[in-house]
Subunit: 474 residues, 4 copies
Amino acid sequence: MSYEVRGLHEECGIFGIWGHQDASKVTYFGLHSLQHRGQEGAGIVSNDQGELKGYRDLGLLAEVFDSPKHLEELTGNAAIGHVRYGTSGSGGINNIQPFLFKFFDGSFALAHNGNLVNAKSLRQEVEKEGGIFHSNSDTEILMHLVRKSQKDTFIDRLKEALNQIKGGFAYLLLTEDAMYATLDPNAFRPLAIGQMKSGAYVVASETCALDAIGATFVRDVEPGELITINDEGMTIDRYTEDTQYAICSMEYIYFARPDSNIKGVNVHSARKNMGKNLAKECPVEADMVIGVPNSSLSAASGYAEMSGIPYEMGLIKNQYVGRTFIQPTQELREEGVRMKLSAVRGVVEGKKIILVDDSIVRGTTIRRIVTLLKNAGAKEVHVRISAPPLKFPCFYGIDIENKKELIAARLTNEEIREEINADSLEFLSEEGLIEAVGLQLDAPYSGLCMAYFNGDYPTKLYDYEQNLLNDQGV
Amino acid sequence: MSYEVRGLHEECGIFGIWGHQDASKVTYFGLHSLQHRGQEGAGIVSNDQGELKGYRDLGLLAEVFDSPKHLEELTGNAAIGHVRYGTSGSGGINNIQPFLFKFFDGSFALAHNGNLVNAKSLRQEVEKEGGIFHSNSDTEILMHLVRKSQKDTFIDRLKEALNQIKGGFAYLLLTEDAMYATLDPNAFRPLAIGQMKSGAYVVASETCALDAIGATFVRDVEPGELITINDEGMTIDRYTEDTQYAICSMEYIYFARPDSNIKGVNVHSARKNMGKNLAKECPVEADMVIGVPNSSLSAASGYAEMSGIPYEMGLIKNQYVGRTFIQPTQELREEGVRMKLSAVRGVVEGKKIILVDDSIVRGTTIRRIVTLLKNAGAKEVHVRISAPPLKFPCFYGIDIENKKELIAARLTNEEIREEINADSLEFLSEEGLIEAVGLQLDAPYSGLCMAYFNGDYPTKLYDYEQNLLNDQGV
Amino acid sequence: MSYEVRGLHEECGIFGIWGHQDASKVTYFGLHSLQHRGQEGAGIVSNDQGELKGYRDLGLLAEVFDSPKHLEELTGNAAIGHVRYGTSGSGGINNIQPFLFKFFDGSFALAHNGNLVNAKSLRQEVEKEGGIFHSNSDTEILMHLVRKSQKDTFIDRLKEALNQIKGGFAYLLLTEDAMYATLDPNAFRPLAIGQMKSGAYVVASETCALDAIGATFVRDVEPGELITINDEGMTIDRYTEDTQYAICSMEYIYFARPDSNIKGVNVHSARKNMGKNLAKECPVEADMVIGVPNSSLSAASGYAEMSGIPYEMGLIKNQYVGRTFIQPTQELREEGVRMKLSAVRGVVEGKKIILVDDSIVRGTTIRRIVTLLKNAGAKEVHVRISAPPLKFPCFYGIDIENKKELIAARLTNEEIREEINADSLEFLSEEGLIEAVGLQLDAPYSGLCMAYFNGDYPTKLYDYEQNLLNDQGV
Amino acid sequence: MSYEVRGLHEECGIFGIWGHQDASKVTYFGLHSLQHRGQEGAGIVSNDQGELKGYRDLGLLAEVFDSPKHLEELTGNAAIGHVRYGTSGSGGINNIQPFLFKFFDGSFALAHNGNLVNAKSLRQEVEKEGGIFHSNSDTEILMHLVRKSQKDTFIDRLKEALNQIKGGFAYLLLTEDAMYATLDPNAFRPLAIGQMKSGAYVVASETCALDAIGATFVRDVEPGELITINDEGMTIDRYTEDTQYAICSMEYIYFARPDSNIKGVNVHSARKNMGKNLAKECPVEADMVIGVPNSSLSAASGYAEMSGIPYEMGLIKNQYVGRTFIQPTQELREEGVRMKLSAVRGVVEGKKIILVDDSIVRGTTIRRIVTLLKNAGAKEVHVRISAPPLKFPCFYGIDIENKKELIAARLTNEEIREEINADSLEFLSEEGLIEAVGLQLDAPYSGLCMAYFNGDYPTKLYDYEQNLLNDQGV
């Protein structure tokens, strides 16, 4: 289980269904299994014989739909839904999706996962022509481009718009007579199609949502595709041929749920392989292997299995930590009061420990964990990271801190080790990561996006070009 | 981590502190790490130079203290707190503890973990003499007995009252000038004393609460003891010599947090040992070992280590399941919609699985999990339970369903196996359990209460005598 | 309409019904018309074939019963309810009534309007014998006395208890097989019996509650009476013969709703008469008569009618002022920002005004109103109070500030006039008040309690004796 | 006081301030006195040195700003605010104003009172060109027109836009460097300018808001004017010369607060005059005059004064009726349970009554009141309405039911009298109304809009032309 909130954040999960009498309820349960992709807000729009009805609010899904009546009012046999993670300052219910647009000639709902790299300049263009935006979100730009298009059919207008936007995106679009699913030309973000026993098609950010509603996996959406699902069934079309796989490697490493498969690869297994490769690349003598809960347990068990060193539960995560929790004061913190993680003294005391984590962003969290273990009596703590060092920001939908705050962009390995107070520190190699995931796509890095590690961005950066030059990241 | 809510429920966690300027805040953080012991309600009473102030409400700790002001108003340098699990029907804020009593000649606060076996008859006696109770709880009886006692000193009145009540209890009592901690003559429930860096004494249901606030473990409270903590320090006294250890074995098996130690035994390690003994007693050929998250992961890893069969993450628990969640309809359930647990198809498909769980109450949950795994493609599912079969109700503070509903009280091992659809089913032996925990106390079963397994109750049953004869349990 | 919250506060309204299938709903609507008697909390206990069920919380009635399910769960054909006004510091849900007591041999619910003068000493006595109280309220004492009584029947125990308590009280008591209504020997507080079309008996603090539910007035409860209502009908009994009317004059002047009748006298008419007598006693030349909304409009219209001076709407009360309203800062207040009352410049500018109000407590409110009128251009403001000056505290159920804070206990008429910035100030005489109400009971002051005006308390003061001597009031 | 919610609804109140350090707080208090103009939602946008910040939500003002922090975050020395009444179905926070628009080249906030008659066709035009609306509200259209204008300066673009929209509107517009106030060419809606002691200019829907914040009245905004307020002071400009007064007569009759002045006429005095004229036009012999609280008390006192018949309080309105109140079932209603209004039996029994109300929409409310009085013993009830019969819908900002539901559009006077069970029924004449208000403007009906009474609409009806022809109203 690797889906809690930490230093890195996914920006959203989407789910859609067409042709089920309980469409909005199924969407609710589908979104529930995508909750790890966004906790700031949630919403659902349903289609009842052409009439679109929506409900959305800030909070966890269960907080937004805290009364059954909200769901019951979303009648109809099609629906799309969204869970949102929002960057700080971008709050406000206006940004909660799906967006619902009502025009004199039709209604549309839109849900988006990803980040565009030319949204700012496109928005400025639209505004110069008198267009009005109502959110800070990248998402809205697509609807403006569609409405401004001079093409004859809706499909052609949509294709034209999709060719204008750049970056990482998975979109679900609900109209009065169809649901559309589409993916960017690099397939940065995952998007899978399934089918329920009753025949209804569903589309979801991760396959775990298909499992959660008892749907069978049909296929992944491929880069550049535009899928139409309506009462006639599913039609596969594409808006561009200019595609190349660059699946976000952080989905495998950290974000996606371990029970999801992305492009056929099970996430837990990929992580376990990362742990195994890490054990091969960076062995060290020790009494036990401990994973940082919950996201690094798979990698840690892989490390243990490969190294033959026992896997132990040396850290306990308090499952009741929520957003409303009162934080300890600095004074109490210094007395040792802590809330989230506890070291199990009875397990770690006097022991040499291999501590497996999946990433180091600023280094503060891992330093706190190392200290926790040492205070509980651990003799040595050897940190092993199941991915290469994070050195570059992401512009395709992951809220990675800007470059200056990435500790690995500033310090050498030895300097980091010292900073985090570990006895040794090693990272998995890029090759080890690629091999562990095991994609064999005809694209650089076998089809993974490795930009966070090596700065090799798969697209032009448009509005962000300057950011990067300034060395400031996003 | 074994602290989610399932078929069995602990009845409460308690925490107290004397001599710290942030007493109520420390209590809040201490209670937070005891949240697994009760989610129905929470409360704290502080002592500000003799004035007792309290706040309590229904809900999780973070919901009760959802505004910093509630905590800030609980000034003073001593406090006791309580998290409550309540049996159905007993709801209502009147039952949330600590209870706060204000008399013309002094104030008292009381927090209780456990269950008395003669509460009903004592209550009737008090009512016959004109006494008025304001809760359904067993807890209040102690205060009535203290107030009715004719002894000269408060300590003597308290001791007299403690000798009148029978069953399982750990009490914290806060008065205007001291905090008292006391344990029943069998030590059914755990209770530990710690000390903070600043010198303040703390008392808590589990040692994980000491770790969470940076306190050092001092000693466990022993059966029959009455501890007084005040500005002079700590005094150890006892109200009875007639004691014999019978520590609740379910604390080790299921309830306590894995990072807690009870009577010197780490809970995670005890569980891992149970898993190891289970592997020795009940081996079976398989491809992998899977634990039911979260409570059985320790036992599962022990089984895997002892058997040499790989430990895998074949079940994922959705961490966002809360009380407010809308449940799927029966219809959707039949289509396969589920919320809490998912099987990881990519891991289990086509595999022979050893599924480790820590208990079977009614059998419905484990049957659902076996089905889940089989639907995800598991070839065989061999269920191994890391404790003996539950056959008798508990009267000392654990909400075990009455005997009729305990599947192992009704059916043979083979009948249960069939009912839960497993390919094989085995339980740990009583000896295997006792050996795994490893207590070596001079008492039956080395100091464990084994009544749930064999009906050998360590005390007379008083008001419950008849229940048992009727074969109906509680 | 004289029922808003100001300087004086009524302590509670009670309502009960026996023999109606929608008992708790009728109670809800009855209580709603008594909401002016208490806004701090509300509760209802119903009796469903001997089982008593209750719900209560802090807040207005509509806030407490904010979901229909709370009412729907209170099944049964009898119910009692309570709205509470609480003095500051006495908050907490423990004090919200009706109190519900569950004993091994029966259940009881209790609702109280009034204040006892010997509650403190009785409580201390009970506590010395081991009794435990759970509220700060006077109310609970009655149940302790009943339970401690050695009499044979419940009725006899109740009568014995009623003879032990002293002061002002109207009680409603619900048991498994009857509802009891009783009034103190002076009838300080009003209590009326009515009957619905369906035959069900109801009892309420004011007759406006009878009107609100379509019930016909039957009779007032008389001092010293104990009314039993059960499936056999209504029985009138009494616990004492030692009675003498002393009806709270503030009920007529300020507290009760104008549409209520107390002992046969309509409250609006009594107030109008007070205004007329005031006009006769204290005439002054002016352009218009203005009443302070809402409580003084009746008296003002009486003054206008008697004097022949036009009655105008020169003050407007903002009806949206609630408890959650943010208050203006001192700075904004000085700039003239105000929230509750506005003077109508178009009406008062350049005019000589007679301003009628019903009482002066500390003088701050009336000074603010006079200033408001003068700032809006009023040439002269002549204040006329439709009651005598308040000089003594009340111990029978009205939260009148202690003597020191009563401006009329400290200052002469002329000093008050100066303090409140009025051009003249006059009060109604005691005789004028008595004549206006028009009771003709065989008791001092024709049956009114005039203690607030002249210190002539109708009972011994017990626990408050000392307060009064110290000149500190309550 | 005539500002409760009944059959007719005002659509919104607006308030703005420039140049005050507590701008948003003053706006809060200003809006509070306009709460009667809209209870569905509220919002405020402030300007802190060019940065616009907003907060809005559904509910009463005090519910929206239920925490001081919401206001405190709205820093800056200028602000505009809005209270909204929404027609059913138009709910949703998207429609709560002020609207806040953030463009690459500047930010704007917009608040609107009124209704446009060509909004629908303008919106369709904008959408055809690719524009996207985010609310159902008429308000947003202005911003689209401004942004699409090709004029050079902002003022010119705004003027062009104002000339395109038709109907009733009062707008407040907040930009980074100024606040704009503008009124439609007929001055349908009121809009007044004031000045605080500190020099800050304020603009508000009604003068009662000026009084509430201690501001001095400066002047009314005149039809066709565009007022600019910025750090230089106030500039008066106009966007059209083609103007003619047609002030909404319902503002005087029913909507505005009695302490407001509109175009120099005090609303209470106008209503009192309506009552006087009504007494002259439609006298009847009776014992007392009663007004329907709260809106008809002024007119009733005028009727009483002119006729010499005593003015009495024969109806009491329960002030605690809120939106969350549980309604009586039909069954209880038939037993006589009622919540809002009570008749004072002690006052009306056996009496001939003149009942003054200000309007009859569907006739159901007045019928209920007449019945209430008769059930309380009134011998005769003569209904007098202080305005002419409502026969036509309004398209300029008042939610008058469509023509079919207006009882006076369907039935004769005698038929209505029978339907409402009155002993006689009379309406004020159009002349009597015009005379009572006493405007002397050079325009039809002395400057009043009388369309609801005689169908003489002051503007072309554009999108509503067809509605009217269909006899269906809005």
